[in-house]
């Protein structure tokens, strides 16, 4: 219980969120910077869009990994769940924005056809939609208001992670190393959480949501 206390200065310890939220935004800032300086290659929009999606998936994986990891480390990891979850949501929103604004350049016709015809995009959209109520209720007020319902609601994160995983897999033309790696990580995290998932879904009154 003393590792973080000795490793971090008092300010960071007390106000870690002030330090870590901006830190989490760095990849996005860096991608914009690289993009405007011509360092994202021949098809910068595609790289930008995919990278944002990948960061969303990474934060979601970290968020899900915190509780299982908590069992093996002595300092408080679970307190970063809101941070990583919100960052995942934030990157997913940026990912969608990059797609609509930079890629489709507001072509509403194509966007609508994508949303209604393309499985890959429908799954991605569904994942983001599931994250929305989680982001909106990620505050103490909602936790108090929803009481036990809050935990039930936040089980949606499993659905979001699985949908995002399939969306990610389908975004590639063939099997490949990157998607194989991230899908294995997702499987690993879900497996590590299996006991938690089991208990949580078997709890009384857990029939819905």
């Amino acid at each position: 219980m003393t590792i973080s206390r000795s490793a971090a200065p008092a300010f960071v310890r007390r106000h870690w969120s002030i330090v870590l939220y901006p830190l989490g935004l760095l990849p996005a800032v860096w991608l914009v910077w690289e993009g405007q300086n011509g360092n994202l290659g021949a098809d910068p929009v595609n790289v930008f869009e995919r990278s944002l999606g990948l960061w969303a998936f990474r934060f979601l994986l970290v968020c899900l990994a915190l509780a299982p990891l908590q069992r093996v480390v002595s300092f408080n990891l679970v307190r970063f769940r809101r941070l990583t979850g919100l960052l995942a949501f934030f990157y997913a929103v940026l990912h969608l924005a990059a797609y609509v604004v930079l890629d489709l350049q507001f072509d509403v016709g194509i966007f609508w056809r994508d949303l209604t015809h393309r499985t890959f995009i429908i799954l991605g959209m569904a994942a983001l939609t599931l994250l929305l109520p989680l982001a909106l209720t990620s505050n103490r007020f909602s936790m108090k208001r929803l009481k036990r319902g809050w935990k039930r609601l936040h089980r949606l994160v499993y659905g979001a992670a699985i949908l995002a995983g399939i969306h990610f897999f389908l975004s590639f033309k063939t099997l490949n190393g990157t998607s194989a790696l991230y899908l294995s990580l997702l499987a690993l995290v879900l497996l590590a959480r299996a006991p938690m998932i089991w208990i949580s879904f078997r709890r009384k009154g857990a029939g819905r949501l």
Partner: protein, 314 residues
């Protein structure tokens, strides 16, 4: 009057021929790292090319993008894999075989073809199935010329193309991931192959093809999606049956045999109605433009598909 312009290499940039020819000896001498560097620059050979038809009004995409952003799964699955993992590939000497239902089978020395004065420049639109596009100044010979020399038999209906298999020089061919079974194969209907637009390219920007663009000889069918443009072709076979094609075999619901550029027929994962234009230097400067039917070559090729349902024959 030239209506287009792109940087031609200065004479001083061209590697002297004796250096180019001696690169194997230098390898033998053990100057490994130096040779590897030289081989990269020495592989480009200036071609005796002259402007051909169908090139009007197009400004080529900057060369760095055309040679640095490639789908060539033999060298890896990322767009920059072909340029970074193809330096061990030795395109010459190379023999291109034309066989099957032809009266005069051919064995073409591609090294000699590179010196031919028949090479012409065709500046074509290139539309990738992934919804991006470039404009590429190819140098090559119409496929029809070579097929005519081989004299296809009367029952011939299709042309099959086969790429090379060299796992020792092409790292992507030994990767377990892509799921592609090598060699890469492609096909055209005989009348498509004989269309004057269809080109066997041996160069881009006035120089022999870089490895990552399909050295030493590749197919260019500008009204079809880019994956029809099979690279590093070793065999061409004239047949009476429709040959299998690599992407169609891998995902038949996604990639058809015809693969004509068609803004009305979407890919299951992408709309094909418009395309990102490669060549912007910045993220926010990227343009998107409507995709043209047959990639803008309807005048030349629409007749090939008269009466066909292009939604079913995608």
């Amino acid at each position: 009057m030239a209506i287009f312009r792109y940087p031609r290499p200065a004479p001083s940039d061209i590697t002297p021929k004796d250096v180019y020819l001696s690169r194997r000896e230098m390898l033998g001498a053990g100057a490994l790292s130096l040779t590897a560097m030289l081989a990269g620059t020495a592989s480009a050979e200036a071609l005796k090319t002259h402007p051909g038809p169908y090139s009007g009004g197009l400004t080529p995409t900057p060369e760095e993008f055309v040679t640095g952003y490639n789908n060539f799964y033999e060298f890896g699955m990322e767009k920059d894999d072909p340029v970074s993992h193809s330096s061990d590939f030795h395109p010459l000497p190379w023999t291109l075989e034309i066989s099957g239902m032809v009266k005069k089978p051919q064995r073409l020395d591609v090294g000699a073809l590179l010196k031919s004065a028949d090479i012409e420049e065709r500046i074509y639109r290139m539309r990738c199935v992934e919804a991006w596009s470039m404009i590429i100044p190819w140098d090559g010979i119409p496929l029809a010329k070579l097929l005519q020399a081989a004299e296809p038999e009367s029952g011939a209906k299709y042309v099959a193309f086969e790429s090379i298999v060299r796992p020792s020089e092409m790292p992507g061919q030994s990767s377990a991931f892509s799921g592609i079974s090598w060699p890469y194969v492609e096909g055209l209907r005989l009348d498509e192959a004989m269309n004057p637009l269809t080109l066997l390219a041996v160069g881009i920007y006035g120089e022999s093809l870089p490895n990552q663009n399909g050295a030493p000889i590749r197919l260019v069918v500008p009204w079809k999606y880019g994956f029809k443009g099979i690279k590093s072709i070793q065999r061409i076979r004239v047949m009476d049956k429709q040959p299998p094609t690599t992407w169609n075999r891998l995902a038949p619901n996604e990639y058809g045999f015809y693969a004509n550029v068609n803004p009305q027929v979407d890919h299951p994962r992408w709309s094909q109605a418009s395309e990102r234009v490669i060549g912007s230097k910045t993220l926010f400067g990227t343009k998107r433009q409507p995709t043209l039917m047959f990639n803008g070559y309807g005048e030349q090729v629409a007749g090939l598909y008269r009466g066909m349902n292009l939604h079913d024959n995608f």
